[in-house]
């Protein structure tokens, strides 16, 4: 039995907007993670869920075309970024993974605390998005 193509205009239109909000919130969580709840892991999971919603609303082909890189590469890049932040402190003679932070004055934002841990979190973020999507797609792609 051939399934009819569902009429999901409402879903597609609303998801386009909603995913934007999810992306923004996940980005906020990612940046908030140093001293407050949030961080790369939870932000990454939320981003993954946003992408997943897109996969649900549209079909596989469309999204695969829209996201032009493979999620497994993303895991590799994320791991490399995370470990690179650790190695950077090694290069300056500190123990592995020593982190630094300082306060900077930006126009518009005011005083902002910037940390090297942010880059580590970026690595975690990429790994989580990549891993979550890889696992989900591994099951989803099978079902033809």
């Amino acid at each position: 039995m051939k399934l009819q193509k569902p009429n999901d205009v409402m879903l597609q239109v609303s998801m386009r907007v909603i995913t934007l909000f999810i992306f923004a919130f996940s980005f906020y969580l990612f940046l908030a993670g140093h001293n407050n709840p949030g961080g790369g892991f939870i932000g990454g999971l939320m981003t993954a869920s946003a992408i997943l919603v897109l996969y649900l609303a549209f079909d596989m082909k469309t999204i695969t075309k829209a996201i032009p890189f493979s999620f497994t590469t993303m895991i590799g890049v994320g791991l490399l970024i995370a470990v690179a932040t650790g190695i950077m402190s090694m290069l300056f003679g500190y123990p592995f993974l020593t982190h630094f932070f300082d306060y900077f004055l930006f126009p518009l934002f005011g005083e902002v605390e910037l940390t090297t841990a942010l880059f580590f979190d970026l690595g975690v973020y990429l790994v989580v998005v990549g891993a979550a999507m890889t696992i989900i797609l591994a099951i989803a792609e099978d079902d033809k």
């Binding site: 497994t72 590469t73 895991i75 470990v83 190695i87 090694m90 592995f96």
Partner: protein, 494 residues
């Protein structure tokens, strides 16, 4: 402080991550991973030498001082295990180049391989009990992926049991860590050791000790938690089976040795001479009986892992410097010989297409080199002088008699005999007798396959001939781990 200690963990980590990106270029993957394995070998030799000369190296990761942050401690036992890991992983990797099909290679074989090494090296180096759990999980997750790698029916079915028993054991691991944290209020192993010494090891702490023993015993395949091992090690290709057989259970044993010499060493009559020795006896006997009853090359070897893990734990259980030195020596011998034997199983499987001994025969006529190399490793495993097996079992059993542990020492001798019997069974079925493989199969070239095995066989001969210096080294290792104050001082610097 020295960042050198972190290198055995981050080098495979970086290479694993890079190999994920280049997953589809299997030639490039082989080149990169081959060079990395050799580089790791050199690095770990250097590290072992450095620790031998200058004493423990400690790294306080993230620059957090000792009881608060995570420390990595390279002492003599840890560096010895690191060295063995890189020897074995190099041999298995070069064997994998020739045996693992390119389909499997493309499916992230090498990244998982290196993440496994990350986990193993991390477990050896870490000085933090929760971090030990994390590295165990890194190792186990990679091992789950490798053990189902290829996804044949048999692998999927048997690996499920392997995964579930390990998930359950990991849950118990966290429980044990939680209890230990609630009692001692710290996670740093040196600090825990101090606190346990202050608290006196009674009641609750004994329970925690036994729970840790159960956790590591299920990862190290001790009685009665070994049932997952023979079946799950049968499924994956020989290179992976060799890596698992040589390496993974020994990580559990390492953790037992570490925990029961550093933290829970106050009540040796209850924990060591009571429970550990009893379990060791059962493990040895039941493992070797399993091996005797099997007619499959890989299964016999898998059951032998169980019985030999018993020897190591027995050495710890007797708990004199001589016995622990014997256990350390035995680990060295076992890891090398066991890997070699699993690789032999892979080579004979390549020739005959089976691992069932009843379908093999007469390999000695067509592949004499293979046969004699196997013979050397087999009698070395069984403990015939002048090979390493004899010289490593000897101190354990000697210490057993010295300490009045006559039953366990007698069992160990008997088990040695049965080991010899089952190894000779493999030799006489597979290599002697009527040739059962076709003449076309007899022409299978195995010269390249032997290349990674020969150094391992050479090592077992060297370990036997140079028994004196190596035993002295193991004695040094054992004296160091039997005196926890060395470890504690190097970590907490008091």
């Amino acid at each position: 402080m020295s960042n050198l200690v972190i290198l055995p963990i981050i080098i495979p980590f970086i290479i694993g991550a890079v190999l994920i990106i280049f997953a589809k270029h299997h030639r490039l993957q082989r080149v990169i991973s081959g060079f990395t394995a050799v580089g790791m070998l050199i690095l770990t030799i250097y590290l072992a030498f450095l620790v031998y000369q200058d004493g423990n190296i400690v790294l306080e990761a993230s620059n957090w001082p000792a009881p608060f942050g995570i420390v990595l401690v390279a002492d003599m036992l840890a560096t010895l295990m690191l060295l063995l890991t890189s020897i074995i992983s190099t041999a298995c990797l070069f064997f994998a180049f020739q045996t693992v099909s390119s389909d499997r290679e493309k499916f992230y074989f090498y990244p998982f391989f290196f993440f496994l090494i990350v986990g193993v090296n991390g477990a050896f180096l870490t000085g933090d009990i929760f971090n030990l759990f994390v590295f165990f999980e890194v190792m186990l997750l990679s091992s789950y992926a490798l053990i189902v790698h290829g996804g044949t029916k048999y692998q999927l079915r048997e690996s499920f049991k392997y995964v579930i028993i390990n998930v359950f054991a990991s849950a118990l691991f966290v429980v044990a860590v939680a209890w230990l944290y609630s009692v001692t209020g710290t996670l740093n192993m040196a600090h825990i050791s101090q606190r346990v010494a202050e608290l006196e090891q009674t009641g609750v702490i004994n329970v925690i000790a036994i729970l840790f023993f159960i956790v590591f015993a299920s990862k190290g395949a001790l009685f009665p938690l070994y049932f997952w091992l023979p079946r799950s090690y049968y499924g994956p290709p020989a290179a992976i089976a060799a890596l698992f057989g040589g390496l993974l259970t020994k990580v559990g044993i390492y953790a037992i040795i570490r925990v029961f010499t550093l933290i829970f060493y106050h009540e040796p009559t209850f924990t060591h001479k009571g429970i550990i020795v009893t379990i060791a006896g059962f493990t040895m006997v039941l493992g070797v009986l399993g091996a005797v009853s099997q007619f499959d090359f890989k299964r016999i070897l898998s059951y032998h892992i169980i019985s030999q893990v018993g020897y190591m734990v027995m050495g710890l259980g007797i708990f004199t410097p001589l016995a622990v030195a014997g256990a350390v020596y035995y680990i060295v011998h076992h890891m090398i010989v066991k890997t070699a034997l699993f690789l032999f199983a892979g080579a004979t499987e390549r020739i005959t297409g089976t691992t069932d001994l009843r379908k093999m025969g007469g390999l000695i006529k067509t592949h004499p080199v293979l046969a004699w190399l196997f013979f050397i490793s087999a009698i070395s495993l069984a403990g015939i002088p002048p090979f390493s097996g004899f010289f490593s079992k000897f101190p354990i059993i000697l210490a057993g008699f010295q300490e009045g542990q006559h039953v366990i020492s007698g069992i160990a001798l008997l088990v040695g005999l049965l080991t010899l019997f089952s190894m000779m069974k493999i030799f006489s079925y597979a290599f002697w007798g009527k040739q059962k493989h076709t003449s076309e199969q007899a022409k299978t070239p195995i010269g390249k396959l032997l290349l990674p095995i020969v150094p391992l066989v050479a090592l077992t001969i060297i370990l036997g001939i140079a028994a004196e210096p190596i035993f002295q080294y193991s004695l040094l290792v054992s004296e160091q781990i039997m005196d926890p104050s060395i470890y504690i001082e190097s970590v907490l610097k008091e």
